[in-house]
């Protein structure tokens, strides 16, 4: 295992070292100490390595991740795993706003709560939140799955495209064009798999599914108020 002291060695050196890891690296496990809320930790990785960040992070930890498994042993600041392509990001604590924003793939697990705009404009990423999520989550979400074991805040799924939203608890309010939908067997299967991979102690049958009513897909004068 490689240990990297962010405070003494610096952010540039950390990301440089992590970017230098090729697919066939044998330095597969890294530990980053003294994270202390720093920004842009372990961004743009593209190798099947494991990075353990000890402590809480600032903005954009694991941004644009590909292949790597990044665990934050603390809470994550805004935009964690933004635009992730593949790999796994696990947050032991809470996540701030924009968690998993615009993510294209991979799995983001938040063991605590996520703040506002979780999964905003998500484009294929899977996000599992063990706790609650804040307002405007999944705004303009395009595809992928957002699973919330707790409650959702206001305006869930506003202007939603084809992303699937699963919420176990209450939803404070649904956003424009977001409706509750039938949970079909294929959805139960997707959910069961995600819950298992995310280590979430919940049963698929306890969730409700939300999706796009597709009323905003093509302009209709009778929906003008929703624009």
């Amino acid at each position: 295992m490689q240990t990297f002291d962010l405070e003494s060695q610096g952010l540039r050196a950390l990301n440089e070292a992590l970017h230098a890891q090729a697919e066939n690296t044998n330095q597969t496990v890294w530990e980053v100490v003294n994270a202390r809320g720093s920004h842009a930790i372990a961004v743009g990785l593209d190798a099947p390595i494991e990075v353990n960040v000890m402590g809480s992070t600032g903005y954009y930890c694991a941004g644009m991740n590909s292949q790597a498994t990044i665990k934050v042993h603390g809470s994550a600041g805004p935009g964690v795993a933004e635009n992730m392509m593949s790999g796994t990001v696990i947050i032991e604590g809470d996540a701030s706003q924009y968690a998993g924003a615009t993510g294209h793939g991979g799995l983001l697990v938040i063991k605590g709560n996520a703040s506002s705009r979780c999964g905003i404009s998500m484009k294929g990423i899977d996000i599992v939140v063990h706790g609650n999520i804040g307002h405007m989550s999944a705004f303009m979400a395009q595809s992928g799955n957002l699973v919330v074991c707790g409650d959702a805040g206001d305006a869930l799924g506003d202007s939603l495209y084809e992303a699937r939203l699963f919420v176990r608890g209450s939803v404070k309010s649904l956003g424009a064009d977001c409706i509750e939908k039938e949970m079909r067997p294929e959805h139960v299967e997707i959910l069961r798999d995600l819950l298992e991979r995310a280590g979430a102690d919940a049963k698929p049958e306890e969730f409700k599914r939300y999706g796009s009513a597709r009323q905003l897909y093509n302009f209709d004068v009778d929906n003008a108020a929703a624009y």
């Binding site: 202390r36 809320g37 720093s38 920004h39 402590g55 809480s56 992070t57 600032g58 903005y59 809470s75 600041g77 805004p78 604590g93 809470d94 701030s96 706003q97 709560n113 703040s115 506002s116 804040g134 307002h135 805040g153």
Partner: protein, 298 residues
């Protein structure tokens, strides 16, 4: 656009460290606001005395005999404590209004920072660490304090444009965001007789709260109505003699992190600002909800 820090101490044994903790928090937020910095500190209450904090660009000349001159003008004892460009003028509380009237005639260049029984505001142009050093912030003790680092958006980088803004006796406001209706509101508030010095959007926010409270609202009510009357993006932190409050606009894009332990409640624009607080690893850390007024009182 800016960084905000705030620390409200619950455990009195931590009070002597307030300045040191806040200074560290403030300096951490330098990237968010390198133009100017300021701090409102709620220190000790001296018997029956109130404090007027003032600033001068020529402190040597302006402050040398200010105590004597003011004392004569308003016929009451005034003690002066000079800290770099600022001076704290202590006097009996009922003389504060008279002093504010007399001062511009005695020293035309002197600017008001704050009035309060416990609150003093220090703010200047420059990097947060330099501003903190000038006023020796790290040595200050107190029950709570609010700090701000500023990245000016549309108004000038000046001392008066720096935060915190005083909103009344022992009350202050800092802001992260950008208000979009401050010009109209400034005109309205000026018609209502509220004094507004700068083109700064935050000063209008502060003046708005002052006006609401002058017309009968409590601070909590004033903050609630700010959600309707102020347009744009804002995270506000306000200080009062007894505590501090937080409110974010309904969209709530500007960041805000809070932490609470048995010893304190802390606010930071980023988690980074909180990392050196004692017991932060086990603190309850969360983000304030949009359009919700929070308050912590002693």
């Amino acid at each position: 656009m800016c960084g905000i820090v705030g620390l409200f101490i619950k455990d009195k044994s931590l009070e002597p460290q307030l300045g040191a903790l806040l200074t560290d928090m403030l300096v951490t937020m330098t990237d968010r606001g390198p133009d100017s910095a300021g701090i409102a500190i709620y220190g000790s209450e001296s018997a029956s005395a109130a404090k007027l904090t003032v600033q001068s660009d020529n402190p040597d000349a302006d402050f040398a005999t200010l105590g004597d001159d003011l004392s004569k003008a308003i016929e009451t004892p005034v003690t002066v404590t000079v800290k770099d460009t600022h001076a704290v003028l202590a006097m009996s509380a009922d003389k504060i209004a008279e002093a504010r009237q007399a001062l511009p005639e005695l020293r035309s260049d002197v600017k008001f920072m704050s009035t309060g029984e416990t609150m003093e505001i220090y703010k200047e142009v420059g990097l947060p660490k330099d501003v903190a050093a000038r006023f020796n912030l790290s040595q200050m003790s107190g029950s709570h304090g609010i700090g701000h680092t500023r990245m000016a958006t549309e108004s000038a980088v000046t001392t008066l444009g720096a935060h915190p803004f005083s909103t009344g006796l022992d009350q202050c406001l800092v802001h992260n965001g950008s208000l979009s209706n401050h010009n109209s509101l400034r005109r309205k508030l000026r018609r209502e007789g509220i004094h507004i010095e700068t083109q700064n959007d935050t000063e209008v926010g502060a003046a708005y709260l002052t006006w609401k409270m002058q017309t009968g609202s409590t601070l909590g009510e004033a903050l609630e109505s700010s959600l309707d009357d102020l347009d744009g993006f804002f995270t506000f932190v306000v200080g009062t003699k007894d505590g501090f409050g937080v409110v974010r606009d309904p969209i709530a894009c500007k960041p805000a992190v809070m932490a609470e332990t048995d010893q304190y409640v802390a606010f930071g624009s980023e988690y980074r600002a909180l990392v050196n607080l004692p017991g932060i690893d086990t603190a309850r850390v969360w983000e304030p909800e949009p359009a919700t007024v929070y308050f912590w009182n002693h």
